[in-house]
Symmetry: C2
């Protein structure tokens, strides 16, 4: 990938053919936010150019290329998906009170909430403009349904806090906030040309399953990664009272753990107690169990991909899918 | 209008034929937000059902009916415009720190910023789904461009605070935040059937000009209205350092006024000093001058409407336009 985008992941030779297309996606993204106009737009442009993993646009490009989508709508769809991802990051960081993202300070830690809200809104509207650029009504419909699903999921999660946490609520939450966007990336790409409904269904299912795995791995990395690698503090979820899969599995096995019980009651643990709890979870085997669940999702995604035509893109999608559970940051 | 919607304005007999359509718009709006699902959605549903003036959907319906748009897409377009308006209200109240809206407490005064952000996002996405329901690509394009324009305008206004205020910046701001939505209401309605580009242009211009007048009158009412009528505190703009047209005209005539100068420097005036400044502005003649400017915009809007076909709807649009400067709340 281009080194100007600080793309951090994944380094897979099967993805090399995507380099030129991804550079075009970067250019389209950069054009949407004019960093010269205001300091806030500059901060948003910086967040976009800091890259992240670009998983979603890569999946979009691979599925579209595999099924023969036209280049221009596909590039716009890939950029739209990444811009929508950026918009949700901005508002989610505000909602979560996060201070670091992609190794740089979040917008909400540098600007008043008001400015952050508007910056996120701006990214949302630019994403909508990009998807309109595809001119493909089913893809536009799916895009809007995805936006709605993501926001409704976050809203449900926010108002559920305080309820007894469980796996079902967790899976619903990550399906809404993460898997739906992966489903959009793959599904909308399949919609860009008049292919059979089966391809669209398979692409959406593939995207959704990989997205579920991606989020589970993200949640595991919050326990295990080094802050420098992760670009944000380790243990942040637990410290802010958010119970992800490893903590939920630990809770099922140790329902009487007083510290985790305190967190479920909305209490904030002092630093040393939090560190001990993190250590207990890390040595309990629930991280490995979570990764096993992620692998199950990957296998389900690959089963859906079995119906894709044999092609270099399909091989790249398969490699990309497995890289999701192998990544360290 | 239906009394279940608490529509407060305007009471014009020429609008009576709209009653049934407006009831359908209310039903479409109510379906978008399921108040039973969470307390936050209930609060959003309450904000929508409290009505406000419904100026934008009424203009949309009148223009569409006048030009022969199909009923179903038109009703969805009218609901989309009102939903987009609601979404911007939620985020704007958060940005402005407002405590009251339509006589009820704002979402941001009852919920954490995070919840308010998501509630606004949700309204945005529901608006986008409604506009997609029209199936009309040019209207969808204009809708997205309007969202972008509104957010960019607020962003520019936010980052300009501290600059020396002037009429040009004020007019740019209200064009972005208010007139663009009126332009959408009228323009998108004209796009719903294959009419000549001239009708679309005239409808957009009509909407924009009425919207400019509407915002100026809103800003004048912030100085003159009674809190019970306005549904929010009087003098709120000035108290929060926002200089609208009456204050800007007063500043041009009295550049040395120390209290207004203090506000332009970002200072917060004590209550009695603010009351005296409000009284000085109210007796300076700039409120009448502002209303004169609003009337000029109305006349420009009506000039654009001259090209509309003679019809009951055109008469209603003209009456609605004049009612904008005659309203007391």
């Amino acid at each position: 990938m281009s080194d100007t985008t600080a793309t951090t992941f994944p380094v897979l030779s099967v993805l090399d053919p995507l380099e030129f297309s991804m550079q075009q996606v970067e250019k389209i993204l950069a054009c949407q936010v004019d960093g010269w106009r205001s300091p806030l737009e500059a901060a948003l442009a910086n967040l976009i150019s800091c890259g992240g993993k670009r998983m979603r646009p890569m999946i979009c490009l691979l599925v579209g290329n595999m099924l023969g989508a036209e280049s221009n709508p596909l590039l716009h769809m890939a950029a739209a998906v990444e811009m929508l991802h950026t918009a949700t990051l901005v508002h989610d960081d505000l909602v979560d009170g996060s201070a670091l993202r992609r190794g740089i300070r979040t917008l909400n830690s540098r600007w008043p909430a008001a400015a952050t809200v508007l910056a996120g809104d701006y990214a949302f509207t630019q994403a909508a403009r990009l998807v309109l650029g595809t001119g493909c009504m089913p893809a536009i419909d799916l895009f809007t349904a995805t936006m709605s699903c993501m926001v409704a999921g976050e809203l449900a999660h926010l108002t559920q806090q305080g309820d007894l946490p469980g796996q079902e609520a967790y899976f619903n939450w990550i399906r809404a906030k993460t898997a739906s966007l992966f489903e959009l990336a793959a599904g909308a790409a399949a919609m860009l040309r008049p292919v059979d409904a089966g391809s669209v269904w398979a692409a959406r299912l593939f995207g959704e399953k990989i997205g579920m795995a991606f989020q589970i791995v993200d949640d595991v990395l919050d326990f295990t990664s080094h802050p420098n690698e992760l670009g944000k503090p380790v243990g942040h979820d637990l410290a802010t009272g958010v119970l992800t899969l490893p903590a939920l599995l630990y809770l099922e096995a140790h329902p009487a753990d007083p510290d985790l019980h305190a967190i479920t009651c909305g209490e904030k643990l002092p630093g040393p107690a939090l560190d001990h709890l993190l250590a207990r979870i890390c040595t309990s085997g629930t991280l490995a169990a979570s990764l096993d669940m992620a692998r199950t999702f990957i296998r389900e995604g690959l089963k859906a991909a079995d119906t894709f035509p044999e092609s270099p893109e399909r091989s790249a999608l398969e490699a990309l899918a497995w890289s999701v559970v192998e990544r360290k940051k």
